[in-house]
């Protein structure tokens, strides 16, 4: 399973060859470098460690500094593992290209959603709220009942309540790749992608994808 990290730049729209207008998210990949292989023998599982972005050497820990200096690359801001991603030894330390994706192919995208702060139940859990009229009084966006009476005499665990919303890791599946620009290392993905502009997203090929 191939994958890489990229930066969500923003959204726009493009025309397909047939003339259809498609809304797209622009994802730019700048300096996504495979740095280390996790092996069955050493780590107990197979994966590829990929570095993204830049960070000062003084903020990098000693073990990783060693990895970077061996490959003669700058320390990276972010590290991520891709399970089952295989790569030649010569390719280690060289930036990954978006060419691994084909136009029309479907991928999965992982990002961190925008923080919404302390949100009520209507926004957070899709509750219906209360009617605006018909004798309603001072309660429009509340949750209503949160449980039964004497039995069980408590609120059931996991009951949806107001609270912090957003800032979660969101896994968006089955997103179509509209265009691949290997020169600028840009992919255009159909529709939206989790997270704010400037956020880091993880694009992976779908397991068992027929494309």
């Amino acid at each position: 399973m191939q994958g890489l990290l990229g930066k969500k730049v923003g959204m726009t729209q493009v025309f397909t060859e047939a003339g259809d207008c498609v809304c797209v998210t622009v994802v730019q990949v700048e300096g996504c470098v495979p740095v280390l292989k996790r092996t069955q023998k050493k780590d107990g599982y197979e994966a590829l460690l990929v570095a993204y972005g830049q960070r000062k050497a003084k903020h990098t820990n000693k073990p990783m500094q060693g990895v970077y200096s061996q490959l003669k690359i700058d320390p990276a801001k972010l590290l991520a593992e891709f399970r089952g991603m295989e790569i030649d030894d010569e390719e280690m330390g060289k930036p990954l290209s978006v060419e691994m994706f084909k136009e029309g192919e479907r991928v999965n995208v992982v990002g961190v959603s925008k923080g919404k702060g302390f949100a009520g139940v209507m926004k957070r859990h899709g509750f219906a709220g209360h009617p605006a009229s018909r004798g309603n009084h001072e309660s429009f966006r509340g949750a209503g009942s949160i449980g039964m009476a004497t039995y069980p005499g408590r609120v059931l665990k996991g009951h949806p309540m107001p609270g912090r919303m957003g800032g979660d890791r969101v896994y968006a599946k089955n997103i179509q790749v509209v265009r691949v620009d290997a020169g600028n290392n840009i992919v255009l993905l159909k529709g939206s992608v989790p997270g704010a502009n400037g956020g880091i997203v993880r694009i992976v090929q779908r397991a068992g994808s027929k494309n």
């Binding site: 730049v9 923003g10 726009t12 493009v14 025309f15 060859e17 207008c21 622009v26 730019q28 840009i186």
Partner: protein, 156 residues
């Protein structure tokens, strides 16, 4: 220029005539019906423009068999073959929604002749380029051309 702007610039057509609110335009649109392809012409007044760069659209209003019809055309869409400006009009607002309430003579706009050096010069050049490409296409499928013409007439 940021990355999104660059992508939008690439998506833009080279020659799109300068259209203004209140202009009477003839929009040539490519219609694909099964395997056949033909060009239809929609003539009407531009009552609304929105968007910028490759997202720019115009809303064209025409009266068809006594019924008002408004169509929205993305100017940079490959399906929009050509846009001809046939008349400029004097308008005092950016959105001509008031035309929807008016019928017949009341819905006319006063014509004005605009003589801006840059505007006309450019549009002429662009028109020439558009005509050239249209001629090329016509040469490729001369059978379709006559069909397109006939279609255009019936649209009138």
């Amino acid at each position: 220029m940021n990355l999104v702007d660059q992508i939008e610039h690439k998506e833009m057509k080279e020659a799109v005539p300068e259209v203004r609110i209140g202009d009477t335009v003839r929009v040539h649109i490519r219609i694909v019906e099964g395997a056949k392809e033909r060009v239809q012409v929609v003539e009407g007044v531009v009552i609304k423009m929105r968007g910028s760069q490759n997202r720019k659209t115009i809303t064209v209003r025409k009266i068809s068999f006594g019924v008002g019809v408004e169509r929205i055309f993305p100017l940079h869409s490959p399906r929009v073959e050509k846009v001809e400006v046939t008349k400029h009009s004097k308008v005092r607002r950016a959105k001509l929604y008031y035309l929807r309430e008016l019928r017949g003579k009341a819905a006319r706009l006063k014509e004005v002749r605009i003589q801006s050096k840059k505007g006309t010069g450019q549009s002429k050049k662009k028109a020439k380029a558009a005509a050239k490409s249209a001629a090329k296409r016509a040469a490729a499928g001369s059978g379709e051309k006559t069909e397109a013409k006939a279609e255009a007439k019936t649209e009138e």
